[in-house]
Symmetry: C2
Subunit: 321 residues, 2 copies
């Protein structure tokens, strides 16, 4: 049986199951320094979320470690190439959090366009700002989805039922998948910005997508909805920080080119003294896309399956290397 470090938390039921299966589980968050000086060498497996960064240096000090499990989707906090060279399998849980992120994305879109966070702030300040809180409907507007994997497909399904016209950019996707979701696939990302008043990010963070949402592209957005209503421009990111240039977002909120921005993820997390989060037309959340009881339960159960497969000598179903 394996000695397992759980460094960023995991669903309690999954911890119980791992222990019942005979694994030795240590729930403990380690600092960068502890990781770089070999604390993981005492373990066979480590289960992380986004807070623990598994760099090449960490891997070089990780002894007999043979399994890195990422509860969630994004693996930009793991040096997979270094793990491969060290014979360590890396797995994520790509499906478990899909619907939670879909719901947060739609929630942020509706909350942005109807000023829900701002309205609540204003009530708490004993104001009744009915007039300045006039919003716009999503119905009749175009949404541009950057990346069209499972999460974006789920968002497209709900956006369609809300009466939005769906567009997407995903260079890695066959065109017919978009058609199934009543979504138009674009050949370049600029045409999405030129056409859509609402943009939602659903891609990974890579060198290709770093600051993909920049000032130049934000300024391409039309402001005028497909239905002829001036609804302004709106950006939501529940995918990964760094894809959106936060300085450009703040500048364009200040100029009015952007009417709202809602970010669940940031280039530097946790957020400290980021002036963007104080802007009246911004609202955000602290990376809670997968922070639901349902997603955490599913992630925990999937992680138990992945870890068991690995230590039985099988290749786990979501192995990335």
């Amino acid at each position: 049986m394996a000695r397992v470090a759980v460094t960023d938390g995991m669903d309690p039921e999954a911890i119980i199951t791992l222990k019942k299966l005979g694994h030795d589980v240590v729930e403990q968050h380690y600092s960068k320094q502890e990781l770089e000086t070999g604390v993981l060498s005492e373990f066979d497996a480590v289960i992380i979320r986004s807070a623990t960064k598994i760099t090449e240096k960490v891997i070089s000090k990780s002894g007999k470690l043979s399994f890195i499990g990422r509860g969630g989707v994004g693996v930009d906090n793991i040096d997979i190439d270094a793990a491969t060279r060290a014979n360590i399998v890396v797995c994520n849980t790509p499906r478990s959090s899909t619907h939670s992120v879909v719901e947060l994305t739609i929630g942020h879109l509706l909350a942005s366009c109807r000023h829900i966070a701002k309205a609540d702030r204003s009530l708490r300040q004993k104001s009744w700002d009915k007039k300045i809180l006039k919003g716009t409907e999503l119905s009749g507007k175009r949404i541009g989805l950057i990346g069209f994997g499972r999460i974006a497909q789920g968002v497209a399904k709900i956006a369609n039922s809300l009466g939005m016209e769906c567009h997407a950019y995903d260079p890695y996707l066959p065109k017919d998948i978009a058609t199934k979701f009543n979504t138009t696939l674009h050949q370049n990302v600029d045409s999405l910005f030129r056409l859509c008043t609402h943009i939602s990010i659903h891609c990974n963070l890579t060198q290709e997508t770093y600051h993909l949402v920049n000032g130049e592209r934000i300024e391409m957005m039309p402001g005028l909805g497909a239905d002829g209503v001036f609804c302004g421009n709106h950006i939501v990111n529940c995918a990964r920080g760094g894809i959106v240039d936060e300085d450009a977002v703040l500048k364009n909120l200040e100029s009015g080119t952007l009417s709202s921005a809602a970010l669940d993820v940031f280039e530097n997390e946790p957020v400290k003294d980021n002036p963007l989060v104080m802007h009246p037309n911004f609202h955000g959340s602290p990376h809670i896309g997968a922070a639901t009881a349902e997603a955490q339960y599913r992630i925990g159960q999937e992680m138990v399956t992945l870890l068991n497969s690995h230590f039985k000598g099988e290749k786990p179903h979501s192995a990335l290397n």
Copy 2:
């Protein structure tokens, strides 16, 4: 041509149209005292929203006034019987704001269950409260819709696409309408509370519905979702203040029986010193269900049609008396 008082604002394009049609339009809000001392007697028509209260006393001093137009749905601020006796036609614009209220309802539901307003507050306070902001999905849960008119039907359509199981109570509705929206119609309101973790109000305020959502019924709610996940109990009201007993909501937020409450409407508006709006698990908005560019445009256009019909000697299509 008519002399028209617009007392609570109207879409600028509708004002322009009325003037082009030759009507004499005065945009001015009047106090209770001005209304009760006969300010409306100088007009043929008055166009209001919710802020102006047309009581029997106001009507008794309204001279030749022959048309009251309510931009929006609820007419509880108009004494329709007194208007009828005074030969004044009362019209509302019941369809124009439907989709705006549907979107706000879904927005409030998602914002409640994912703590969007609380998350934004916490970021502005320089916190990163990822752990305490764990929410629950709407998918797999039961929503109970009180009233099943156009707005509730629109909510059911989106709730279905989110994966919710829809239930409704509406004693005035034939059963087959609910079936069309994949919704189960209940014979009494208590069974809705016993079954559903999420309740959304979509009925009028009448003697029958005053404080329909009370402490006794809130305590019937199951807390446990249809999918076996403990999601707590959640109430949304974007219909009319007074249907929800706000003291009971606060008490049940404090005890934890309610996990969240989101109100767009209040028994006393504007809200002043209501302790409910300060509760951490409450979030609200200042009666902005119809406060979208789209709804205001549609309301304005519908009002022009209603007023023209009336002064051409026809019965306006939404005449309530």
